[in-house]
């Protein structure tokens, strides 16, 4: 760790005003001074706030540290650290860190940090009994031998598209032959286009096939003793990797390549690499969900996909390295990560390389990187790829900023908060904080309702109430008493939010606050489609590893937007962005006038509502040449407005990933149609699209077999790769078979 580091930490409201000292096993300790709340605490003991401070390195000690040794420093450009505080904070009973480089309470690795809290003048009363300092060093933990050693990620970002190469390094640490099975996440819009199995110096490119056929090939190869690997998609953001016949002491690597478009808000771009699948809840009776079981309880969830989690007190040596190269073609500003520590190298004003810090490699939370491009500079808004006679384009459409001046309409705000077991603790506290900010931002013409759900649903009152000061205070009190626990029967929240009479004088906006840890996404999306009416859904993902597929799909089906609030940052920016969009009328019934261009297969098929500051990427196939500009129009209130979008006019930038991005969007559109229809009628169309474009979908799989050598003996034992529960998620409330 750097001796001079800037710390951004999450602090319980109970210790706001205290001094935090963060230490680690490297015998360094960090002093965080001047801890100040960035926001008003919103919920009693669970009211986390984001704050910042400066640190200085002092020798670690299990005992009290002399206050005079704290030398505050004011570093500039220091690294960012996330310092979580878990456990019974007011009493400091279990207070140790699981920060960015953290060793989660699930025991992903040895807890190498200690947090020491010292009361200072003005400190809160909860700390009165703690004298001045308490320290706890994590108990000795047990390492679990795993067949997955390391994941290496190399990403290249060009314009608004990322090309990502992921290498999973499997190793057999056991005395007998094994099959390794690893369930892992990728971005929800990832177009996986390439798959290579690496054995020593040899590289075998996998073949994309219809899923059942690929599974039969893999199983037969496994049975006969051939080294083989199989990649299947369980959800658009959950994949299963199987590697058969890894001999004792031997290695097999698997390399994946995928493309995806970046999230963009205004001039800020966001790159996300998810590292762990959160523990999902599956409704009773379901079998095609995503089970969450303890390591050693494999196969007990009864679900078609199952993730095994490390038990508390255990950890694995699986770690992650990540390098991101950004080539923007224009000056890059404010490169930062709210979640991890990176070393940044500015290769040129338009090129930046980020390398994940060696001590921040535990795969227990999403890795988020954000950067801005220079304002007021012409942005490349179209990318193309030539493929024989037909080409593919990706076009960025954003309404002009002048639309910000439009008047706002009165709203009927319905806040739906997930109070299930996985939201217990930090995530729920974050959700409460966001909702309080939302409530306090309501206008005098607005009404609101609050609905909580876990195994069932209940609400603030029978009907939405006007957003008066008294009602807002009542809402805040209601939120404060919400606790996390129980299942995630999201369908109950959907029904409660959409099944009551709509106030015709107001725009109904339903805002879900959830980590999305459910295994029945299709059922939820189908219910939204069925019940939506004229409501709009804005989803807030709250947590370190939220189910972004569910959150973005809810917003897509609900003609709204999704915002993600990580545990490492204040929700204020996300809430403010939400209000900026929800408060103003969107551009509806959007149409693109292609001006005689020969265009087909455009996705999304229905252009979503457009919001200022939130561009939409439209992809399609075309012949000939793109025009200079394309006209876009939409309904704003009761009038149709139009604006022009630059389309390249033959000077567009070529990008090899655009064909994959197009295919992925088409597959998503087809999958959405299947959800609406409630059947798999489009299966054959999706398989054809997937195979011909070599982009994976739920109906296809990549398979690779090394037919050159048959390994000795039978196929060996299947070993599932257990993973830590995501940072901030409690193992005790989420994992079965403990």
């Amino acid at each position: 760790m750097s001796k001079r580091s800037q710390v951004v930490c999450m602090v319980a409201s109970g210790i706001v005003g205290a001094v935090l000292v963060v230490g680690c096993q490297s015998r360094q300790a960090f002093l965080v001074r001047d801890v100040q709340p960035a926001l008003e605490p919103t919920a009693e003991s669970e009211g986390w706030v984001s704050t910042g401070g400066t640190v200085n390195c002092v020798p670690a000690s299990a005992g009290p540290l002399p206050a005079e040794s704290y030398q505050p420093s004011l570093p500039s450009g220091g690294i960012r650290l996330g310092v979580p505080v878990l456990g019974d904070v007011p009493h400091l009973g279990r207070l140790f860190g699981t920060g960015s480089r953290a060793r989660g309470t699930s025991g992903a690795q040895r807890p190498d940090e200690v947090l020491v809290v010292e009361k200072r003048e003005g400190g809160t009363s909860e700390l009165e009994d703690t004298a001045h300092m308490t320290a706890k060093i994590g108990d000795e933990e047990k390492e679990v031998p795993l067949p997955l050693k390391h994941t290496d990620v190399k990403a290249q970002i060009s314009a608004f598209v990322a090309t990502v190469d992921v290498t999973q390094q499997y190793h057999n640490p056991f005395a007998e032959k094994i099959e390794a099975v690893y369930v892992f996440p990728l971005p929800e819009n990832a177009a996986v286009t390439d798959f290579i199995m690496v054995i020593g110096e040899r590289r075998i490119r996998g073949i994309i096939r219809e899923r059942e056929e690929a599974q039969r090939i893999y199983q037969e190869a496994r049975r006969q003793g051939y080294r083989a690997s199989l990649l299947t998609q369980e959800r658009p953001n959950i994949f299963t990797q199987r590697v058969a016949n890894i001999e004792p002491g031997h290695d097999i690597d698997v390399q994946l390549t995928y493309f995806h478009t970046l999230h963009q808000v205004g001039s800020e771009y966001e790159f996300v690499f998810p590292t762990v699948v959160g523990p999902r809840f599956n409704p009773p009776g379901s079998t095609d969900g995503v089970g969450a079981v303890a390591h050693g309880a494999d196969g007990t969830s009864g679900q078609s996909t199952e993730v095994t989690y490390l038990k508390p007190g255990t950890f694995s040596s699986h770690d992650l390295s990540l390098t991101v190269d950004i080539e923007a073609g224009m000056p890059i500003h404010d490169v930062r990560s709210p979640t991890h520590v990176f070393a940044a190298s500015e290769l040129s004003p338009t090129q930046t390389r980020l390398v994940l810090a060696p001590n921040d490699r535990i795969p227990n939370r999403d890795i988020v990187i954000r950067y801005r491009l220079a304002e007021n500079e012409p942005k490349g808004t179209v990318l193309t790829h030539a493929d024989g006679e037909e080409n593919t384009f990706a076009l960025l459409i954003e309404p002009p900023k002048s639309e910000k001046k439009l008047p706002r309409a009165p709203r009927e705000m319905v806040f739906v908060v997930d109070c299930s077991g996985s939201m217990n603790g930090w995530p729920l506290a974050k959700a409460k904080e966001a909702m309080v900010r939302c409530l306090k931002s309501l206008g005098k013409d607005d009404t609101f309702q609050i609905i909580r759900f876990s195994s069932n649903a209940s609400k603030l009152g029978a009907d939405p109430v006007p957003a008066t000061a008294e009602n807002v205070r009542r809402g805040v009190r209601y939120l404060k008493h919400l606790k996390g626990g129980g299942g995630t029967m999201m369908i109950e929240g959907i029904k409660a939010a959409l099944d009551f009479a709509h106030d015709p004088r107001r725009v109904r906006i339903v805002s879900f606050m959830t980590d999305g840890f459910i295994g029945n996404e299709s059922e939820i999306l189908g219910a939204i489609q069925e019940r939506l009416g004229s409501s709009r859904i804005f989803s807030f993902g709250v947590g370190s590893s939220v189910n972004r597929y569910l959150l973005t799909s809810m917003a897509r089906f609900g003609q709204g937007e999704a915002e993600i609030i990580t545990l490492d940052e204040s929700p204020s920016r996300a809430v403010d962005r939400f209000y900026a969009k929800a408060a103003r009328p969107a551009l509806r019934d959007v149409r693109i006038h292609w001006g005689g261009m020969d265009v087909r297969d455009v996705y999304p098929r229905r252009i979503p509502h457009l919001y200022v500051g939130k561009p939409v990427v439209v992809v399609g196939r075309y012949r000939g040449r793109l025009p200079e500009r394309i006209e876009v129009s939409g309904m704003l209130g009761d009038r149709r407005v139009s604006f022009a979008v630059a389309a390249g006019g033959g000077r567009e930038q070529n990008h090899p990933g655009i064909a994959g991005v197009w295919a992925r969007r088409k597959l998503q559109a087809l999958a959405d149609e299947e959800i609406v229809m409630g059947s798999n009628e489009l299966r054959s169309v999706m398989i054809k699209t997937s195979v011909e474009s070599s982009v994976l979908c739920g109906y296809t799989a990549f398979v690779a077999v090394d037919s050159t050598e048959r390994t000795a003996g039978d196929h060996g034992t299947t070993v599932k790769v257990p993973v830590p529960v995501p940072h901030g998620v409690r193992y005790e409330t989420t994992v079965q078979g403990r």
Partner: protein
């Protein structure tokens, strides 16, 4: 577009397969002979009976220029055709006979399958098209069977 060259090779699977199980995995090597012209790029079509033969992996060759697995076009695979293509920017390009790629196949049944390879195009580093003889041969040195 007129093809400058069309070379065809018929690969007859070794008769010893008859003793193997109903479903077998075999490796087949794609060889080229470009004479004294350095080969920098190629595209070939390989045809097979899709009812009995499935391609289950594509590997590169043993020459450094083509050690990476070639790209394949999956569009024709359901109909029993796989198109392989690769190019190399290294200075040391293969001349004479060289192994360009290896196909990993799953074969059903005991009958002897046939594979045909057809050159679509081949070229030098300067873009000149060249004549190349192609052949498909069972992998040598198979182990564990």
């Amino acid at each position: 577009m007129r093809r400058l060259l069309t070379c065809m090779s018929v690969f007859v699977v070794a008769a010893t397969w008859a003793a193997d199980p109903e479903v077998r995995f075999v490796a087949v090597d794609l060889w080229s002979d470009s004479g004294d012209r350095p080969l920098a790029a190629y595209q070939v079509d390989i045809r097979y009976d899709a009812r009995r033969v499935r391609v289950v992996g594509v590997e590169g060759g043993d020459h450094a220029a083509f050690v990476d697995p070639p790209h394949y076009d999956p569009k024709g695979m359901a109909g029993g055709r796989i198109t392989l293509a690769a190019f190399s920017a290294v200075r040391d390009l293969p001349t004479g006979k060289a192994r360009l790629a290896r196909l990993h196949l799953q074969v059903e049944g005991k009958a002897v399958p046939e594979l045909n390879v057809e050159l679509v195009t081949a070229g030098t580093a300067t873009g000149s098209r060249i004549e190349v003889d192609l052949s498909l041969e069972p992998m040598k040195g198979e182990r564990g069977k």
